[in-house]
Each structure stands twice: as C-alpha cells, then as structure tokens.
Amino acid sequence: MSHPVLTVGIIANPASGRDLRRLTANAGLYSSTDKASAVQRLLAAFAATGVDQVLLPPDMTGIAAAVLKAGLGPQAASQRWPQLRILDMPLRQTVADTRLAARLMVEQGASLIAVLGGDGTHKAVAAEVGDTPLLTLSTGTNNAFPELREATSAGLAGGLYASGRVPAPISLRRNKRLLVREPNRGICEWALVDVAVSPQRFVGARAISRTEDLAEVFVTFAEPHAIGLSALCGLWCPVPRNAPEGAWIRLHPHADQALLAPLAPGLLLGCGVTAAGILTPGVAHSLSLASGTLALDGEREIEFSEQDHPTITLDGHGPLSIDVEAVLAYAARHRLLAVGREHPQHPANQPC
C-alpha cells in the first residue's frame, strides 16, 4: 500500500542578512552560498526522517540552483534526499515572493515550512500559512523569533513531526503576534516580535540604529538574552515567549532613567526610558507620535502622518512553530532515531 507523499517546504530568503547594520554595527553576513548549504543540511535531515518531497521557491540569487545541482551529486544519492520540486511562480525580488511561495506551499500540501531568514522573513511567511507549522531558522541580523540553531538538528525535529512520529501537542507551540492596523489605508500587518514607533519620517534603509530614532516599542515577548529592539523590554520588563501578555516601553533621550541595550549585533546603546508596562491581549493601543514610521520586527515598513491613526494590538493567534528541543527530547526518550540492523546507516552495513 502506498503512503501519501510527505511534503515539506523550504523558504530561504535571498535578501536577509545584508542590510545597513553591516555598516552601523558589526553584523555578520549570511551569504547565498551559506543559505544553499543550510538548505542542503535540512535536506539531509528530512531524508533521514522520511520526508518524500521538498518544495523550494525559485530565486534570482542562485540558492535553488545550487541546491538542485547538489541534488544530482553523490551526497544526495547516498543520503537519499527527498524529491526536489521548484515552485512555478513569477519573481518580483521583493517580500511578495516570500508571501507567494508560502501560499503555494500550503496549497500544495506542505506539512510544514522551514524558513531561513530573520524575524521579518518569518513574519511574512506566518501571515500566509494559517496553521501550517513553521520550522524556524535564523539567517537574518537581529533575530528573536527564530532561535539560533543548526539546520541539521532543526531538520530532524521538523521531519520527525512531519512524519507523525512525534505528536503535535509535543511538537507545536502557538505564538503571539502584534497586529498593526490603519483602517483608512487598509493596513493590517503582522509582527511576531516587536513593533517600534520611530520619529524618522521615511522607511529609508529600514534598520534602526540610533536611540533618538525610537519613541516606543511593543513586544509579543522579550527575553533578557534577546538581541535587537525587543532587548529593550527584555532587559527592563521581560516577558516569556509562552506568557499570554506582551510588554511595551516608551523612550525619550532626555528621560531620567536610561538602559544599556544591544539594539543590533555589536551596537550597545544607552536608551532613555520614560515608562513601561504590560501589553494586554485584545486591547488596541494608539501611538505616542502623530507622524513617523513603524518598524515591524526590526525594519521600518510603514510611514504614517497626521491624517493616519494606526493602532497596535496583541493577540495569541500567531503561527504554529516546531519546538525543536521538545521534539528532540521526545525522540531521545522514545529512541526514535535508533536504527536497526537492516538500516543502511547501521555501522554493520558501513564499508570497512
């Protein structure tokens, strides 16, 4: 009897990890070559856990091409990689590509979508996929939503969940989100970690690297070890990832109290704090500024002026994601990766 084709998707954002913070801070580079290698490590893990087919978006930076080329090589053959299928879609070389690829993967039955990117990439995918879980991998600059993790072990966890060997209640966690709404302009955008209100009038180079460019930050969660804008709340009024509430902090350069926070890799800045508090789910907050920009998950995206009235609301309807630690702990307890004598990877079957 044939089993249904087990399909997963992989989206590696070609643009992540190249913004201004390489000049203003000491942020590192995650090149297309690195991303193609990480996809190949995921494929090895998916192969080992029974995934039949992997969907990949096309791209203009050679990631899919490098993976396809590797798919014809000896490593892919010996590891029995899943079948690779490139989505048939036009490319605009903007975030629209990420969003479309995510929608197509859901339509084509992906059990989960592995995302290689920063907070912004994950946010773009999350808003399109409903309850299809995300396997989150950090290849951006300031990442709080995806944890820093090696693709191989994350891929094992994803494959074990997708193949049904680890139950969903163990594997999945529901995340919070922030909704940014401006009804007159038809804006309803998601953020998974933070929304920052900036007096900067233009989106510009997107990253925020100066304290005077920050007036307010709203967060879904804020861990004390965070890097980026959520570190402001993380070091002042932390909120766990699994708590129902969020937090907010208001900033001004002339405030009496100040906090030293890592706003970007290598960029520690003193930020004046005027107030902070808990963000209650379901309550719409208006902004303290009449005009400026809103940075969603670290990047300025929305310019607003006096005639606009954006609000920010926390809720618990964000994406599902794979809890890699929980899945692999379950796998260890149940010896899910034990291999029998008949398995090709059993030491007895290896050439001397």
Binding site: P14, A15, R18, D19, L20, R22, L23, T24, L29, S31, S32, T33, M60, T61, G62, Q93, Q200, R201, F202, V203, G204, A205, R206, S209, R210, E212, D213, S291, E303, S305, E306
Partner: protein, 325 residues
C-alpha cells in the same frame, strides 16, 4: 545616519534627480536624430543612487564613474550646459568637446571622469583616497560601477588595496541587472555583489536603489565610516535602467513589460514626490516649480549646444602631455 533632511536638502535632492531624468530623456530623443556623435548610455531610472550618494559629498571628495556617467556628473555638480555641449562634441563642452559622453570630467568638482573601460574607475579612486589619506584630509573617494564591473579584476584589486591600506574609499555597485545584454543573475557568481565585500575584509550592504532615502542613509553610513578613518566599504544599490545598454539597443533580452512595471510601481521620482507630500515636508507647488526650472535648463542647454562651434583642428594639439610647436 538618519533621514532627517532639511527642506533645502529635500528640494536639492529632487532637483538633482529631476535634472538627471530630464537630461537623459531629452538625450534619448535627440540621439535618434543622429546629431550626437559616438555612443550614449542613459542613466534614467537610477537617479536615486547618484543623488543619495552625492548628497554626502563635497567638491574635494572625488568620484570616478563609468560609461553610464551623466547622472553621476550632474549629481556631483558638473555644469549641465557644459555636459550637453560636451556630448554634442562642441568646443564649449566641459572637456572642450574632445571627450564626449563617456569621458566627461571636471576635476574642480571632484569628478575624475566617466570611463569607457568597465571597472577602470576603481583603481583611480583608490589612488584618490590614498592621496586624501597622505594629505591628512578627511576627504573620501567613491567609485560607481555596475554588475558587469563587479566581475572585473581591476575592481577586485582596488578593493583589496583599499582594504589593506585602510583607504577612505566607497565602492558603489549599481546593480541594474544587466551587463550590456547579460543578466547579472547569470554572470555574477555570488549573485549578491555585496557578499564580495567579505572576501576583502570590508562590510557590504545591499540597498533599494529606487528609494532615495534608503540610498541616502546607507551611503551616509559608509561615507561617515570612511571619513572617520574606518576604511572602505561596498554598497550594492539594486535598481534598473529605463533604456537600453546604449541608445539603439533593442533590449530583446528583457521581458516585454519589465520596464513599464518598474516605472509604474517603483520609480524613484514618483516615490519621492508621493512620500514627501504625504509627510507634509514639501508642497506640490515647490516640486512643480523645480520641474519647470529643469525643463527650461535642459531646453536652453540643448539649444546652445546645438549652435555652439565644434573644436578646430588646432585643438587636437592642446590638452595633451607634449607641447607641439
């Protein structure tokens, strides 16, 4: 680096971009008449890059350009009429009519020259940056090259030299997607030109070249870094050109609606106008006034350039290294 620009700075940025656009669109029309000698390579569509970078430079900072150099010249402050006359090959041109479109230079403005050799500007700015460093000034030098130029050995050598000598040098890769008719996603091995910076020990960033404010911020950070002695950097500006590689290029290598879609959705002048008006920082009257002034300037420049005298045979013996009797 911030996008807090004064009204004067915003108006200047618009004026620079509008002048480049009008200059190039007029050349597109005039070149078809056959009156202009040589080749022209138009910069229309890429204006935000030149304007965003040059907004941070002064006359004592040097730039070197490429074959698509009109925009860089205008943004660096080279006289528009003098450029037009140069392109028409007239004696009143900024180089006496002997350089033409691909060799416009104005050392007083820090414009070391457009350059017909792909990638050849990079070693020149490494030299200019070394001069600034040896003189102890805080001047910087900027080279503009394309995705084709990014594959040239001369660019690699200049980046290596700039890095080991910690020169105040900025490498601006204007990636318009095509080296002549060859797509950059085929010809550039690492695809993101900014990634190449890592191999030379300098930071590299990729920036939206349709957005003046994005270029302004990124270039500002790179230039401030160089001025303060922190060395070179690479800024990849992603943009498009609205016309062919050269005038007369049928562009059969591009999708039929590629330029039309980008013009309608991403155009840098359209974005600048919409966003500054929406933010209440500029008025439509101010921008319309600039449009009118630019139109007059280009009309006047073309009229004068057409009627100006050509260089004479004796001019061949001037501006050369050897004195002739």
């Amino acid at each position: 680096m911030s996008t807090h620009l004064s009204t004067e700075q915003l108006l200047h940025a618009y004026q620079v971009m509008r002048t480049i656009r009008a200059f190039e669109e007029r050349l597109h029309v005039e070149f078809a008449t056959g009156e202009i000698p040589g080749f022209v390579h138009l910069y229309a569509g890429e204006e935000a890059s030149a304007a965003g970078v040059m907004a941070h430079l002064r006359d004592s900072d040097c730039i070197a350009s490429n074959h698509r150099g009109h925009g860089h010249c205008i943004a660096k402050g080279v006289d528009v009429y003098g450029m037009m006359a140069e392109i028409y090959g007239k004696k009143t041109g900024v180089c006496g009519g002997k350089g033409g479109s691909m060799h416009i230079a104005d050392l007083e403005k820090g414009m070391l020259g457009a350059n017909g050799i792909v990638g050849a500007g990079a070693p020149l700015v490494a030299g200019a940056a070394l001069a600034a460093k040896l003189k102890g000034t805080d001047d910087v030098a900027v080279v503009f090259f394309g995705d084709g130029g990014s594959n040239e050995g001369a660019v690699f050598e200049a980046m290596n030299l700039a890095s080991i000598m910690n020169l105040p040098c900025i490498f601006v890769a204007e990636n318009n997607g095509y080296a002549e008719a060859t797509a950059s996603n085929w010809s550039v091995a690492c695809d993101h030109i900014a990634d190449r910076a890592a191999g030379f020990g300098m930071p590299g960033v990729t920036i939206d070249g349709y957005d003046f404010f994005a270029v302004y911020e990124a270039a500002g950070a790179a230039i401030a870094r160089a001025r303060s002695g922190q060395g070179p950097s690479l800024v990849e500006v992603k943009l498009t050109r609205y016309y062919g590689h050269f005038e007369g290029d049928a562009q059969t290598y591009r999708a039929p609606d590629e330029v039309k879609n980008l013009r309608e959705t991403r155009d840098c002048l359209m974005q600048f106008r919409e966003r500054t008006l929406r933010a209440g920082l500029l008025s439509a009257e101010q921008l319309d006034q600039i449009d009118g002034q630019v139109e007059d300037l280009i009309e006047d420049s073309v009229r004068r350039a057409k009627s100006d005298p050509k260089p004479e045979a004796a001019d061949l013996l001037s501006d050369v290294y050897v004195s002739y009797p």
